[in-house]
């Protein structure tokens, strides 16, 4: 899980073009939106693209969004739970 969280932080910075942010600036439990990292609705769409591109996970239910994208840790948990298993 630690490796996945570290990877996610780097991918979020790259995907969302957060050039002034370093991975260590993002807390595992820090809220990604509003008072936390300050992401906006377009960033939310980019996070959905990130899940699809990097982890082959489609967020089929939009209502899951706020729960899944609450923090890097909740994203990592969702990925662990939903990533297609390689047989």
């Amino acid at each position: 899980m630690d490796k996945l969280i570290a990877d996610l932080k780097a991918q979020i910075i790259e995907q969302l073009n957060l050039q002034d942010t370093k991975p260590e600036d993002i807390g595992d439990d820090q809220p990604l939106f509003n008072e936390g990292l300050g992401l906006d609705s377009i960033d939310a769409l980019e996070l959905i693209v990130l899940l699809q591109q990097n982890y082959k996970i489609k967020l089929s239910n939009a209502e899951d969004g706020p729960k899944v994208f609450k923090s890097v840790k909740t994203m990592a948990e969702y990925i662990t739970e939903h990533q297609p298993k390689i047989v």
């Binding site: 050039q19 377009i42 960033d43 769409l45 693209v49």
Partner: protein, 205 residues
Amino acid sequence: MLNDIYITGNCVISDNVVCRNGQSLFEQKEIGLPDFLIAAYHYFDINYPKFYKMDVVSKLGLLAAEIILKDNFKIEQYKAEDVGIVLSNANSSLDTDIRYFDTVKEMASPALFVYTLPNIVIGEIAIKHKLKGENAFFITEKFDGTFLKQYVTNLFTNGVVQACICGWIEALGEQYKTVLLLIEKNKRDNAVVFTIENINKIYDN
């Protein structure tokens, strides 16, 4: 009858040089446009992280607006609703449209999609400087100082604006030119009358 209105500030960005009121403030040759814009952003210490996410047209507009408004514009003397923004260019949002089209082949980028309209730059400037006045973006084949003069003067004549940021923000690939003017009723130091001749002189310099 409307008295003269004045160009109280201008910013020209072209050939990797940023000029305010005819004076070069920042220059960095030998680098491409994207790197030049980031270098200028750091040089002018803008500290607005959303800048990184913007397309080239919005970056040029935000940068030029920052420069003409900084140390020059007393926002508190105007109501937000009284400051307009009127911009124009030749290639609309084509620069971003092409980049967006490239992403569509794999996975469409929402962050690029939002910039596939030319008037988004107006929104970016308005949000940054909390301006809520009349705005418009026109596509013309080439810079048209006569049209700009007529349209903006009309806004002043009808009391729609008390101040206006207007000009030209063109970008396609590495070809670009930005000319922003700050237009106000009150004459200030170094202000020139808002005439077609003066508009064209600033554009051509």
